[in-house]
């Protein structure tokens, strides 16, 4: 699908709210990546600000704590000159049913144009989007469902290193079951033409992963073999109390990424992580700080890709 009309210098970008990436075409990804590159360029200027979203109001509505995602969005919004309001709702009990609909209408009454939302419940972003009359919703993570901006920054980081990602292999290692990052990454990297292989404790794997078009390897070495990207998923220590793995040490011994595991990947393969990292759990410091690590590049990519998303989805008239 060709989204660009280069003669006129405009494009038909059909996405407004972004809940997940399952309806994005490869052409849309490629166009998005190109636009993100120009946004990253703004970050290198003496004045890190352009007036593209002047007059637009962004509300960062966080029902779950996530300082880094919130800060990344906030920086992106500010670099585009939008007005930013941070609305943190602690505790999940206030965030259901009627209350959330009322929250949406309250935000709209205040003039919000763009709502960035993080919520613990699957489908929360979709629900909010359906209740807003004018404003758009950018999903910053809803339960175990999706985290589209994380996947966009991951694809962008890989694309900057490799260019075309067609035929590249990515291994996702860790807690896939509870991971919205994994779900969105699987969709995004598959759309880009990548081979996706999962690994991790069987207790932390969703059933019937093959339905997602991916392969599961119990042995991380088998999963990582010849991979261009090794993606370590965050392990939440609470999962140990749930009895899903015996101990943090044992997890690290079996599934943690150390230099030895990285040797099975292609030489120069990228070590990726959504952050914040648990050193000595899913990733050893030698990998996190090693020459193959692109973890800090991912952080930078996050601002650039969020700028592109805000610009493409949040600009213009409605």
């Amino acid at each position: 699908m060709n989204v660009m009309n280069s003669d006129m210098g405009t494009m038909s970008w059909r996405h407004r709210s972004v809940i997940d990436l399952d309806n994005w075409t490869r052409g849309e990804f490629l166009f998005f990546l190109d636009q993100s590159r120009h946004m990253e360029n703004v970050m290198d200027r003496p004045v890190k600000k352009v007036p593209a979203l002047r007059g637009k109001m962004c509300v960062n509505l966080f029902f779950e704590n996530s300082t880094r995602t919130r800060v990344s969005f906030e920086l992106a919004e500010k670099m585009l000159s939008a007005d930013v309001v941070n609305w943190s709702v602690s505790g999940s009990s206030t965030a259901k049913g009627e209350t959330m609909r009322d929250t949406a209408w309250t935000l709209e009454a205040m003039g919000a144009d763009i709502v960035v939302m993080r919520h613990g419940a699957v489908g929360a972003a979709q629900y909010l989007a359906s209740k807003l009359k004018h404003g758009i919703v950018l999903n910053a993570g809803d339960g175990t469902h999706a985290h589209p901006t994380q996947a966009l920054l991951d694809v962008y980081t890989a694309w900057k290193h490799y260019g075309d990602l067609e035929g590249r292999k990515i291994a996702l290692v860790g807690d896939v079951l509870h991971s919205r990052v994994a779900r969105s990454d699987i969709i995004a990297f598959r759309t880009m033409g990548c081979e996706v292989v999962l690994s991790g404790p069987p207790t932390l794997m969703p059933r019937e992963v093959e339905d997602l078009g991916v392969v599961y390897e119990r042995e991380p070495r088998d999963a990582v073999k010849n991979a261009d990207m090794v993606y370590l998923l965050r392990i939440q220590r609470e999962r140990q109390q749930d009895g899903l793995f015996p101990s943090v040490d044992e997890y690290h011994r079996w599934w943690g990424a150390d230099e030895d595991l990285m040797k099975y990947a292609k030489p120069g393969a990228l070590a990726m992580h959504p952050g914040p990292i648990n050193r000595g759990v899913e990733i050893a410091s030698e990998v996190a700080d090693g020459h193959q690590s692109v973890i800090l590049e991912q952080v930078r990519s996050g601002v650039a890709t969020r700028m592109a998303l805000l610009y493409l989805c949040g600009g213009g008239v409605r």
Binding site: N41, V42, K49, V50, A52, G315, G316, V317
Partner: protein
């Protein structure tokens, strides 16, 4: 381009190249040499014109003047009123522009809004000593107090007309044509 009917040719390839050559000489003359000079082309056609000017100045003066490109998309004043978002292109400066003599280059000067946006974008990149504007065609209808320091040709137009500067690098041929919106 769809919806446009070609009405008349204003310049053939030779005419256009003569104009660009004259602009190159005029720039060096105004700048009293090539010291501190930076050429900055505005996307898209200004970028190609700037590169040609760079080559012509190098031929005449033996010095390759630095050449940058500027995309004004994120600085447009109509972003909140357009239904479709314009595509962002690259902005690249060869060096720090602070204290430099900038020649801003575009194909057609019309309302002046592109140039206004370009000035805002430039100021965010540094503080040039002086900014001058060079265009191939000035077609009138200014909506802002902006004028060209160097102009290839003044062409009176009606608002329904469109001026197309065609560049070999982009369009496969050199020349300038005047078109009418076909409605």
């Amino acid at each position: 381009m769809a919806g446009l009917k070609e009405k008349a040719q204003l310049m053939n390839a030779q005419d256009l190249n003569r104009v660009i050559r004259r602009i190159a000489h005029e720039m060096v003359e105004r700048n009293k040499g090539t010291d501190n000079m930076i050429l900055v082309g505005i996307h898209r056609r200004g970028v190609y014109i700037a590169r040609r000017l760079q080559k012509l100045i190098a031929e005449a003066e033996g010095i390759k003047v630095p050449c940058g490109e500027l995309d004004i998309t994120l600085y447009r004043d109509d972003l909140t009123t357009l239904s479709e978002q314009p595509i962002v292109h690259s902005t690249r400066m060869p060096e720090d522009i602070s204290g430099k003599h900038i020649f801003l280059i575009d194909d057609v000067l019309f309302t002046g809004r592109t140039v206004r946006a370009a000035l805002e974008a430039l100021v965010d990149l540094g503080r040039p000593q002086i900014v001058q504007l060079a265009v191939i065609i000035d077609r009138g209808h200014r909506e802002l107090p902006i004028h060209a320091d160097i102009c290839g040709r003044n062409v009176p137009t009606s608002k329904s007309e469109v001026i197309e500067v065609r560049m070999e690098e982009l369009d496969g041929e050199d020349g300038v044509v005047i078109c009418e919106r076909d409605e």
